[in-house]
Structures are given as structure tokens and as C-alpha cells.
């Protein structure tokens, strides 16, 4: 069984006056409802240009449905005005500005639940990693 651990730390001494924020959390990424670790992953890096419009980062598949997948995505652009917009199917999740990252669960609750990204205001180099349970493989031609 593979072990995938994700840890986050958030800190700020001045966002809440007189009350510093310090959050730390760690989780071991398991398959849905089990104590067995996720066993599949893919990671990569690319650059998305504004001309490419909305692009699928990853399609949802029936084999991955209702899973406990996890997604890491980082916008490696350096211009503060360039951002990656992340959509789930036809719903905007949010904007990853230069240097921002996200870590979310992705349950692929139906096969239209794809991850879509779009570069706005300029080209965005990005890196990603997806940890998952399974996916539907495409037949060779």
C-alpha cells in the first residue's frame, strides 16, 4: 500500500489584530471510505497560453466516480496579473494568481465533473499532481 501525505501550514501575524493565525494540518490520502492508500498518480508541467481558451486538465471518468482523489495545482507565472482560472465542469471554482497553489479533493461524482483550466491575461506555466483511485482507460486504436 502506498502512503501519500499532504501537510498544510497557514500563518499570519497580522490578519486578525491581536490574534495571530497559525494553522497546521496533515492527512494521509486514503481510498474512499478505506484505510488503504491511494495507489495511482500522475503529475506534470506545461504552459497554458491565453489563446488556448478553456482546456481540460483532467477528465472525470466512470472508474474514478465517487473516489477520494486529490489534486494539487500551482500557477508558476511571475506576473501578478496572470492567473489560471479553475472550473469544475461549468462552474468557476476560483483564480490561481501567480505563485498560488491549491490542494483539493476531487470526487468525480459524475463523468462531466472535469477539471478545466484557462490562462487569463498572459501565459501561465503550471505544475500539477493528481492522486487517485482509478480511471477509465481509453482503448488503443
Amino acid at each position: 500500500m502506498a502512503t501519500t501525505t499532504a501537510t498544510v501550514s497557514i500563518s499570519s501575524s497580522d490578519i486578525v489584530p491581536g490574534s495571530p493565525v497559525s494553522i497546521s494540518a496533515s492527512t494521509t490520502c486514503m481510498k474512499a471510505g478505506l484505510t488503504t492508500g491511494l495507489e495511482k498518480m500522475e503529475m506534470g508541467a506545461n504552459t497554458l497560453t491565453t489563446g488556448e481558451g478553456s482546456t481540460s486538465l483532467k477528465l472525470a471518468t466512470a472508474a474514478g466516480a465517487d473516489g477520494a482523489g486529490k489534486v494539487y495545482l500551482c500557477n508558476k507565472a511571475t506576473d501578478n496579473t496572470f492567473y489560471l482560472r479553475l472550473d469544475l465542469h461549468d462552474t468557476i471554482v476560483g483564480r490561481l494568481y501567480a505563485g498560488d497553489w491549491l490542494f483539493i479533493p476531487w470526487s468525480q461524482n459524475d463523468t462531466t465533473n472535469e477539471l478545466v483550466i484557462q490562462a487569463i491575461n498572459g501565459s501561465c506555466p503550471y505544475e500539477y499532481a493528481i492522486f487517485k483511485e482509478d480511471e477509465t482507460r481509453v482503448a488503443g486504436s
Binding site: 502506498a2 502512503t3 501519500t4 501525505t5 499532504a6 501537510t7 498544510v8 501550514s9 497557514i10 500563518s11 499570519s12 501575524s13 490578519i15 486578525v16 490574534s19 493565525v21 494553522i23 494540518a25 496533515s26 492527512t27 494521509t28 486514503m30 474512499a32 471510505g33 478505506l34 491511494l38 495511482k40 498518480m41 465517487d66 477520494a68 482523489g69 486529490k70 494539487y72 500551482c74 501578478n80 496579473t81 492567473y83 482560472r85 479553475l86 469544475l88 465542469h89 461549468d90 462552474t91 468557476i92 471554482v93 476560483g94 483564480r95 494568481y97 505563485g99 498560488d100 497553489w101 491549491l102 490542494f103 483539493i104 479533493p105 476531487w106 470526487s107 461524482n109 499532481a129 492522486f131
Partner: protein, 139 residues
């Protein structure tokens, strides 16, 4: 201007070689080098029903649409069989599920807060007591 730092570390032995991802960010306002200035404070909610509810609702008074808002959510439980379904409201499908936070799982994501149809909603998987903690950083 406040300074909010967030870092993530992911390690895995799924591959035959170690996978290690480490990244830090300073939360800034959209398109600027100025830090986010507002937060709701670290909060927690206890649930004893499987009803889907707003965890954090879009509010024109406190939320900047199209900004660089960030949301942290964690299932504080330890049971890997129990989860919170996290969804965003959607104008066409009513709800778009992001994913499921099992015991101990956390997430940190940007929130567009485009309209009142983009509330952050959660739904426990069981009527057993479940607790979620969350914090929203916004412009």
C-alpha cells in the same frame, strides 16, 4: 496590508522513486502584490444531520467577486469512512461537487465567489457527530 503565508508539502511512495512537492505562497489581492486584508477567523461547525448546508455563503458585503479569495476547510474527524461532501452552488446544475473530505482531510482553494450561486456548501455523510473547521481569506 496583512501578510498571510501558506505552504503545502506532499510526499508519496506511489512511484518507485520518492515524490516530494513543496510550495509556499503569500496570499495577495487579485493582480497586485498587496496581501489579502480580511478573514473570517478560524471557525468550526458541528453537524448531526446529513442535510446539505451553506458553510460560507456569498455575501456582497464581505466577499469580493472575482478576487483572489482563499478557503481552507478540514474535516477534523479521524474516521476515514465518514466524509463531508464539499460543493459549489451552480446556476445550471444547482450544485457542482468538488470532492469529499474524509476524516483528517483538508483543502485549500481559491474561491471565485462570482455570485450568490457560488456558495460553499457541505454535506455530512452520516448523522454521527462530525465537525468541520474552516477559514476564509478575502479582499
Amino acid at each position: 496590508m496583512a501578510t498571510i503565508n501558506a505552504s503545502v508539502n506532499i510526499s508519496s511512495d506511489i512511484m518507485s522513486y520518492p515524490v516530494s512537492i513543496s510550495k509556499s505562497m503569500t496570499m495577495k489581492k487579485a493582480g497586485t502584490c498587496n496581501g489579502l486584508e480580511l478573514a473570517n477567523g478560524l471557525s468550526s461547525k458541528k453537524f448531526t444531520a446529513t442535510t446539505q448546508v451553506d458553510l460560507y455563503a456569498y455575501d456582497t458585503n464581505t466577499t469580493t467577486s472575482g478576487g483572489a479569495n482563499k478557503v481552507y476547510i478540514r474535516n477534523t474527524g479521524s474516521d476515514k469512512a465518514e466524509y463531508f461532501k464539499v460543493t459549489l452552488a451552480d446556476t445550471t446544475d444547482a450544485v457542482e461537487e468538488i470532492g469529499r473530505l474524509y476524516g483528517g482531510d483538508w483543502m485549500l482553494f481559491p474561491w471565485e465567489a462570482a455570485s450568490a450561486d457560488h456558495d460553499i456548501m457541505v454535506q455530512p455523510s452520516t448523522t454521527e457527530i462530525m465537525t468541520i473547521e474552516y477559514m476564509v481569506f478575502y479582499e
